[in-house]
Symmetry: C2
Subunit: 111 residues, 2 copies
DNA sequence: TTTATATGCCTAGCTAATCTACATATACGG
DNA sequence: CCGTATATGTAGATTAGCTAGGCATATAAA
């Protein structure tokens, strides 16, 4: 009802996750934390968005998952980037650059 | 099935339309053309996205519509920005800047 | 001791945006 | 006369992300 109050730019979650995982294998909870930290709390991934996204990316073969032990000593599922995932990250990053530049160009247009 | 092949950055259509209309009243077809032109064909609005969006924005009070005559001599519905619409454009533009910078920051992060 | 907070995983169900694909109509150039 | 560009629209499907829940453990605070 609330006319969309997104904590993300729609459509960018996948590329964000791929990028964070490319920096080193990490578990879901940690991925969300990193996105929040690096973006200085501008971008916030809800858990109801995060986990389905991770499963989606794994199913598409871009991420690989395996259980391991988190820094805290607790069990956690660690995700790492596959070779195909790295390709995908590159292509999605290029696409982001292209599209975001275009949007910015329009928004900066003076009449 | 085709894993989303968007011609837009999801969620940016509204602000794009508001911006184009802010440059001067224009009809739907023309709005789509301008977006395509300014972005050098990077951004392309499908008609099935365009018209529902226009009706949405009008219903929310950000656009005002009135029938008039296009340059071609044909009847067309011209949209112009309301006062509230201008506010909305400002706020959505600021939001875009904030979010897109955050996304770019993450994608540029070196490990 | 009980309780709150942080960590960690997950699903169900909803909404909203966008897409594809259609339908309609006029003007113009060949 | 026919194809293309202009111009408006809807129906139906898909999909992403959200809210709101559930489960479990560890630790800090009360």
């Amino acid at each position: 009802m609330d006319a969309q109050k997104s904590d993300l730019l729609q459509g960018t979650l996948d590329v964000l996750i791929l990028k964070i995982v490319a920096l080193g294998p990490l578990h879901g909870y940690g991925i969300a934390q990193r996105i929040r930290q690096i973006s200085k709390a501008v971008l916030q991934v809800q858990q109801g968005s995060l986990y389905p996204a991770l499963h989606r990316l794994e199913k598409r073969g871009w991420l690989r998952a395996e259980w391991g032990e988190a820094e805290t000593g607790r069990e956690a599922k660690f995700y790492s980037l596959t070779k195909v995932g790295r390709k995908q990250l590159e292509s999605e990053t290029a696409n982001w650059d292209r599209l975001s530049e275009a949007v910015t160009m329009i928004l900066r247009t003076a009449e």
